[in-house]
């Protein structure tokens, strides 16, 4: 309580702490625009926006798996597979667009259901289940597409999802914004969101207070897979092609975005808005590397380092003793 009453410096500090991500983002933008003058051009920024859209859509659902204390590594393969399945349904089976996309979505939800059920009912570590899912989904994608890059000639309506504009802004942005807002409301203002946080923070106490951890976790994986499917559909219509290894590393980008956004991988806390800022940062970093003519090899290198730094910063509560001597001393005196 006394914190809120402090004047001047305290208030600024609080502001800095609350919006630190935003400040880091602006700092990053400033650095990038100094490094490369092309960065701030409208053309470049709209390019960044495309990739941010895909990662942002994935984040909006992916975030629930770390919040409940798990992780979903299958999202990257799911993105690729969704595009391929949608293409098969629309252009080979010749289904109308809406049922085809719905069917693709149902498939994605089923994959999530399998992930969730195997993780919770059989008590298998989630990263193993979803790693296996990543492998077999990739296999299915390669098998169905025969390893080829498929150009989607597709129905016009489908292609307009990706490239169409509404009120001057591309449609994927609307999709992303709607999904991020929906995810935020789901996390902060619904029973499911509360339960997800409770299960991730402390499964035993959540169980004792009447939350079913298994069904909460299963729903988290279903949502995660579902949003990955939506991202896959958007990406397929955006790039007008479907190729199995296309989205291979996306799970790392999504993990990076979510971790930058302050979501703990140990479960129990998370912020959708933070994940969105994280997604924008990942987009900027990747774009910056491209603009600086860095070879593609720097991409995984930088992503890995960013993940580690963000994790260490997030993990303040488990830092070793020598890194938080002041808190220790204060506690001792009190």
């Amino acid at each position: 309580m006394s914190d809120t009453k402090t004047v001047g410096g305290g208030g600024t500090k609080l502001l800095l702490a609350r919006f630190r991500l935003f400040f880091i983002l602006i700092l990053l933008m400033a650095v990038l625009s100094v490094v490369s003058p092309r960065f701030l051009s409208l053309e470049n920024l709209s390019n960044v926006l495309w990739s941010v859209c895909i990662i942002g859509i994935m984040c909006s659902g992916f975030i629930y798996s770390p919040i409940t204390g798990g992780i979903d590594l299958s999202v990257g393969s799911m993105v690729a597979l969704a595009g391929i399945i949608a293409n098969v349904l629309m252009n080979i089976v010749h289904m109308p667009m809406l049922p085809a996309l719905l069917l693709t979505l149902v498939f994605g939800l089923l994959v999530g259901l399998v992930n969730g059920v195997v993780t919770t009912k059989f008590r298998v570590p989630p990263f193993i289940v979803t790693m296996a899912a990543k492998t077999y989904l990739f296999g299915i994608a390669m098998f169905v597409s025969n390893g080829d890059t498929i150009t989607i000639m597709g129905p016009k309506d489908f292609l307009s999802i990706g490239v169409g504009k509404f009120l001057g802004l591309p449609i994927p942005i609307y999709i992303m914004v709607v999904m991020i807002i929906a995810s935020h409301i789901l996390l902060k203002h619904t029973v499911f969101g509360r339960r997800a946080i409770a299960v991730g923070a402390n499964e035993v106490s959540a169980k004792l207070s009447g939350v079913n951890p298994d069904s909460t976790r299963i729903l988290a994986y279903v949502i995660s897979s579902g949003t990955a499917t939506v991202a896959g559909i958007v990406m397929a219509s955006l790039t007008q092609q479907a190729y199995a290894p296309n989205a291979a590393g996306y799970e790392f980008d999504v993990i990076t975005a979510v971790v930058i956004g302050g979501t703990s991988l140990l479960g129990g806390s998370g912020s959708v808005a933070g994940a969105l800022i994280g997604a924008v940062m990942v987009g900027f970093i990747n774009n910056g590397l491209n603009l600086m003519n860095m070879p593609a090899s720097f991409h995984p290198l930088v992503t890995g380092i960013v993940i580690l730094i963000a994790l260490i910063l997030n993990q303040g509560f488990t830092l070793p003793a020598w890194m938080k001597p002041k808190k220790r001393a204060a506690g001792g005196q009190a």
């Binding site: 992780i71 195997v118 059989f122 008590r123 298998v124 570590p125 990263f127 193993i128 289940v129 790693m131 296996a132 899912a133 990543k134 492998t135 077999y136 989904l137 990739f138 296999g139 299915i140 390669m142 098998f143 025969n146 390893g147 790392f252 993990i255 991988l265 140990l266 070879p295 593609a296 090899s297 720097f298 991409h299 995984p300 290198l301 930088v302 992503t303 890995g304 380092i305 993940i307 580690l308 994790l311 260490i312 993990q315 488990t318 830092l319 070793p320």
Partner: protein, 353 residues
């Protein structure tokens, strides 16, 4: 350990059955050539899997092994292309690469208490980048394919009689590691660290040292495998081994080492490695699309893990029921004894009062 033995017997039975079916469907399967190639492929995965088993026994996981293979191969190629250092000198040096990566992983895991999984995933990304950066490039800056010509280096991919050297190394390493795990104090400490880290720490075991040790060993094994793989292929690319962690995980999981830590040994891993190599070889020999391989591996992992968990619960249920029955009959016996006692005691009391 009757459950583990039974499981292993089933696995060996399956191994033989699949082998029999394969040799029936495709006679070329049983040729010495094919069997030795199969063993060689199994050994390449198996060497990495041995290190991975130790990590799994401490209830950790190492996702960086694939990238360690890539980086080690690149280090070797750099030595070959740019330095006159002979192979027998730089190979031990490049084996240090894996140990260093293990040190890095261990530091972040023990010091910052970060989840093993995410630390090694991050170092996988970092290493994959490093492998591409240090790759030998041509004048245009494109990664060039280096053909390894050093005879000492290439001899690692050779054979002794019909058996590949890598297979011999795999068997020797398996024996040594099994001995280390079961017969030395450090091995016991590793089991203790995995089974219950808090209890291990309280009983004076330096769990951090065990964790450092297993990650360094895992990196070392991956580096060792990298040398054999590149010697066998006579070339090295920066994408080497990326994605092979799935095969390794599958081998260890099929071998019966659980993710909960504290349990597992090398023999299971050896059988699991053979099993996986057999299935991959079978898919090729039967002319099935190679894209089925990842589907099969992913599916096998899920099925085996589910079976293990179900079987464990099943066995525990049986044990609980029999314990309950024993307790019941014990209680009945105790009740009879108590009655007899009461009668006797009553008599005693009566006398006393």
């Amino acid at each position: 350990m009757p459950i583990a033995t039974l499981r292993r017997m089933i696995l060996i039975g399956l191994l033989l059955a699949i082998g029999a079916v394969l040799s029936f469907l495709n006679p070329s399967f049983l040729k010495l050539d094919n069997l030795m190639t199969l063993l060689q492929e199994a050994s390449q995965t198996g060497i990495v899997a041995i290190g991975f088993t130790l990590v799994l026994i401490t209830a950790g996981i190492d996702m960086s092994i694939g990238a360690v293979i890539a980086v080690t191969a690149m280090v070797c190629v750099n030595f070959l292309s740019y330095t006159p250092i002979p192979a027998f000198l730089f190979i031990p040096l490049s084996l240090l690469t894996g140990c260093l990566v293990g040190l890095f992983n261990g530091y972040f895991i023990t010091h910052f208490k970060l989840p093993e999984f995410i630390v090694t995933l991050a170092s996988r990304g970092i290493l994959a980048g490093i492998a591409l950066i240090i790759a030998v490039k041509d004048s245009d800056g494109f990664v060039s394919n280096v053909y390894i010509q050093d005879p000492v280096y290439l001899s690692f991919g050779g054979t002794v009689g019909p058996v590949y050297i890598v297979t011999i190394v795999f068997i020797v390493l398996a024996f040594l590691t099994q001995f280390f795990l079961k017969r030395t104090r450090a091995g016991t400490n590793i089991y203790a660290t995995g089974a219950n880290p808090a209890a291990a720490r309280l009983s004076g075991i330096n769990t951090d040292r065990s964790i450092y040790g297993v990650y360094m060993f895992s990196g070392f094994c991956a580096s060792l495998a990298a040398i054999f793989i590149s010697a066998r292929m006579m070339t090295a690319m920066p994408e080497f081994g990326l994605g092979s962690e799935m095969d390794v995980i599958a081998s260890v999981v099929i071998g019966g080492t659980p993710f909960t830590g504290g349990v597992g040994d090398i023999w299971g891993t050896v059988i699991g490695t053979l099993f996986l190599a057999l299935i991959k070889n079978g898919i090729l020999k039967l002319g099935i699309s190679p894209y089925v391989q990842p589907i099969a591996i992913g599916g096998i992992i899920v099925v085996v893990v589910m079976f293990d968990v179900w079987y464990k619960a099943f066995a525990e249920g049986i044990a609980k029921r029999s314990a309950y029955r024993r307790k019941q009959s014990g209680e009945a016996a105790a009740a009879v004894a108590a009655e007899a006692d009461a009668v006797a005691g009553g008599d005693g009391k009566g006398e006393r009062s």
